[in-house]
Amino acid sequence: MTETTKVRVPQTAKGHRPTFFEDPTNDRIMAMMTSMITEMWVMRERLDTVEALAAKKGVFLEEEIEQFEPDPDRAEERERMRQELLSRVFYVFQEEAEDIARGDTPESYEDAINTSADR
């Protein structure tokens, strides 16, 4: 094998990337959201393929899924899963509320650092 030369593989098109929001972070979050919507669709389509392949083998998942009624245990399990999902996704609000309740401020943290030498 010949010695490989280091080639810069561009990820970015030459030319200034415009930012549209006052805070460029909003552009970043929007870009991340857009990527995730793509990912979400790729996954949805993949699931559709699984259903189609199953149908070819005589397992009609698509219809069965539509007619499926969870038994009480599973329904309860799903409710628990939904609650947990919401709790994970929105954890930052709980953190903020606890900060406010405890009175933690940037100044109190700075104080913790500055007095760590004396304790």
Binding site: P24, R88, Y109, A112, I113, S116, R119
Partner: protein, 408 residues
């Protein structure tokens, strides 16, 4: 360049006490591990570029002089939008890791407590002191952003802090502490066996041992020694003791105490070990604890500590700023102060003879096939060594453990 891949969580070492981690919890750990690796390998390097190409020139233009202190660097970087994004992403990744580990443990907490009790009840090798005081350096903020820190009991006989700590080490370090998380302890043993081949301690004390993850390799290397692990966190010790018993380590005693208030025989330990512990204390307590350590050591005994090396006048400002990050944003406030302390002066004040002090580095000891060390952590750095001899353990190049210590 392809990013190296960490192992999946199912590759970690399990023991009879290990929490049941279901499919989606495993997947969440796998994702968060990758996120840590990605942020460190691919996003973090951009901070230096933003610093050199944008932040530093802007500061010079505005003030007419160069950045002079790491505090100035921190303030200047806080205004840079790239750095803001990295920092917020890293903080989020750490919070999600706590959430994921705690949830997995909390949903089966009753079972885990029962399992731990099976190994703990009636054993003299576990001493929990219900009246032990939480040292102020632990009480001020929850270290490592662990809600409740090392010491909070959520319920009686609680093991949450210990079980969550063990489960999450894999995510935070991307498996670079080995599959059992004990790479630090095994590296310490390698260092001691190589550098002091005739050393054969009969009593060993590990101070600030947590769940004893780094204590057990020491107990294994010296099976005839009596090993004592001390920590200020009761839920860490309940978990650690049960874990040690389940893994068959019967020569390790776990004692609940603040280092300052340790009630053990003076002149009785041939080896006192502290591992990644100093940075979670305070100036006043490290001085008094080291006096205590010196007092507990037998004449001719060894003291050894593993810690990040401190700054030297040669450490670039940007690196100082980076290594202070966890002090400011990962709830390890004292680290910022420790980075500029003279640790050998602390030892000298405690009674150590400066002619009997040393430092060195040792390779991280992890099994083949696991992830390489350090790739998920931001603490890569170089250090000036006190002793610059020929031993392979002296060459400290940043991607190793740094150790310092002394003989009594």
């Amino acid at each position: 360049m392809a990013t190296s891949l960490p192992p999946t969580y199912d590759r970690t070492g399990q023991h009879p006490l290990s929490p049941d981690v279901d499919h989606d919890e495993t997947a969440r750990f796998n994702f968060l591990t990758n996120l840590n690796v990605h942020l460190n390998q691919n996003v973090f390097p951009g901070n230096r570029i933003a610093f050199e190409n944008r932040v530093s020139p802007k500061f010079e233009k505005e003030t007419g002089h160069a950045l002079e202190t790491r505090q100035q660097v921190r303030q200047a970087m806080l205004g840079d939008s790239y750095y803001q994004s990295w920092a917020a992403l890293r903080r989020n990744a750490m919070e999600q890791r706590q959430q994921a580990g705690r949830h997995a443990v909390l949903r089966q907490l009753d079972d885990l407590i029962e399992k731990a009790k099976h190994y703990n009840d009636g054993k003299e090798t576990l001493q929990i002191d219900p009246n032990a005081e939480v040292p102020r350096y632990l009480a001020a903020v929850d270290n490592h952003c662990m809600p409740g820190s090392y010491y909070t009991d959520v319920v009686s006989d609680d093991v949450l802090a210990g079980a969550n700590y063990e489960t999450g080490v894999f995510i935070t370090t991307a498996g670079s502490m080995s599959s059992k998380g004990d790479g630090g302890g095994r590296s310490i043993v390698n260092f001691v066996k190589d550098r002091f081949p005739d050393f054969s301690p009969k009593r060993i004390l590990d101070l600030g041992a947590g769940i004893g993850v780094n204590t057990l390799p020491i107990a294994e290397a010296f099976p005839d020694a009596e090993v004592v692990a001390v920590d200020a966190g009761a839920p860490m010790l309940r978990w650690g003791h049960a874990r040690a018993q389940a893994l068959g380590y019967e020569n390790v005693k776990f004692i609940h105490a603040d280092g300052d208030a340790l009630d053990l025989d003076p002149n009785s330990f041939d080896w006192v070990q502290t591992t990644m512990f100093w940075h979670e204390t305070s100036t006043a307590s490290i001085h008094s604890m080291m006096k205590k350590v010196f007092d507990l050591m037998a004449p001719g005994g060894l003291f050894l500590n593993v810690e990040q090396p401190n700054f030297t006048p040669e450490t670039p400002l940007y690196d100082q700023f980076t290594r202070d990050w966890d002090a400011w944003y990962n709830n390890e406030p004292f680290w910022s102060k420790l980075h500029v302390m003279d640790v050998f002066e602390v030892m000298a004040k405690a009674g150590f003879d400066s002619g009997k002090m040393f430092d060195g580095g040792t390779e991280a000891d992890i099994e083949q096939g696991q992830f390489q060390p350090w790739s998920s952590t931001i603490s890569r750095h170089k250090a000036e060594l006190k002793d610059d001899g020929d031993s392979k353990h002296n060459a400290y190049k940043g991607e190793r453990w740094y150790l310092f210590g002394g003989w009594k």
